[in-house]
Point group: C2
Chain length 204, copies 2
DNA sequence: TAGATTGTTAATCGATTAACAATC
DNA sequence: TAGATTGTTAATCGATTAACAATC
């Protein structure tokens, strides 16, 4: 579902309406699946015409809980954290960075993207009044679990981790995990699969 | 499948054997599914004991085409590209960075992680003799399509893109796409879902 | 032998697809 | 009216699960 939204946002530059087959092509799906998924949203397209891009985007955003602003904190302001902090897509996407934390004295106190990096020890009190905060972990592997613990203590509702480490967190905290090695493995898998397919085809 | 490998690698510090239920817990799966998936690999566990961690890892790696070294190039050496270049997990994971490319004169010629960044125009000739190369795109959104085109021309077999842009590439090139906004959307979705669940539960 | 855990079958469940009436 | 495209049903396909014999 986030993928549909992503494709729609890419597409906005074009027409104001999109058909299920067009969206399917963009999202690498079949038209039938797209229609099924969208009808599940209770969303209303127009027969003979397609879906209103703007209206559909709004409906999906609402469904994803993106109708109100979400607060983000970034833990770890090395190269990765800095890159994430400077990522522009937050504004449109209904996220805003409300805090940046590090443990390195050289980094704490410096400015990244117009915001002063604070010490991780300040996180808990900083976020005491926040309602629903998402944490992004961009620290070295050894520090990832500690960062997760701090985020949990500070009341984070969800964590997005870029560290190649399995995190132990209470069940009520959602964790998503982006691991470069895993992504490369997946890529390698597809390429290997396809190659052996064409080899088999060539052998016939 | 890459996820199993990831979990196994995390686990290695412990015992030399792992049961389907343990692996299931780590990978957020059911024991039955794990056994089904692994049996599909033709892998052999031992009844009453479990799976040999080392042997299982090797089997999965082989299946993923990770039995031989894969070459990587990184396009875009800003903060994100630099973070990726310094990522340590390549060595164990059977990937190695063979080239770094940028277009900015301030970056071209500098050293990142012990390797000199070259100009994107050099990529094609640099990779002429390479067999199976994966490209990582870590450039700003506007430059992503251009980077993809260059990688395709240079003969990349797969592309991992961190740019929030839909890429047009020939069908034979595999693309994986990591978009921060999409990940956050997914996180937001789960949290929203769960919250409305517990509200419903509370309402009863 | 007793306990543990795999490998695999059969049953269930859910997701995808084809197809077409509804309708703009 | 003719063409296009949705929304939805019914059929198919695949994935997950339960369960248990096999066996270490």
């Amino acid at each position: 579902m986030p993928r549909y939204l992503f494709c729609l946002e890419q597409f906005t530059k074009g027409a104001s309406t999109i058909s299920s087959s067009e969206l399917a092509r963009l999202a690498d799906e079949t038209a039938a699946t797209v229609r099924k998924d969208l009808s599940y949203l209770g969303s209303h397209g127009t027969r003979g015409i397609g879906y209103d891009v703007e209206r559909l985007s709004d409906t999906i955003r609402q469904r994803l809980g993106l109708d109100r602003l979400r607060d983000l904190v970034i833990v770890g302001l090395g190269h990765l954290g800095t890159a994430l902090a400077n990522y522009g897509g937050f504004d449109e996407g209904m996220f805003r960075v409300v805090g940046m934390y590090d443990i390195d004295p050289e980094i704490v106190g410096s400015r990244v993207g117009g915001m002063v990096v604070r010490h991780v020890d300040d996180m808990r009190s900083d976020l005491a009044s926040a309602d629903c905060v998402f944490g992004i972990i961009a620290v070295p592997p050894d520090a990832a679990q500690e960062a997760a613990d701090l985020l949990v203590e500070a009341g984070a509702a969800g964590i997005l981790s870029f560290a190649p480490t399995l995190l132990r967190v209470p069940r009520q905290v959602f964790v998503r995990h982006i691991d470069l090695a895993t992504e490369l493995h997946a890529l390698s898998y597809y390429v290997t699969e396809r190659r052996s397919h064409s080899e088999r085809r060539a052998a016939r």
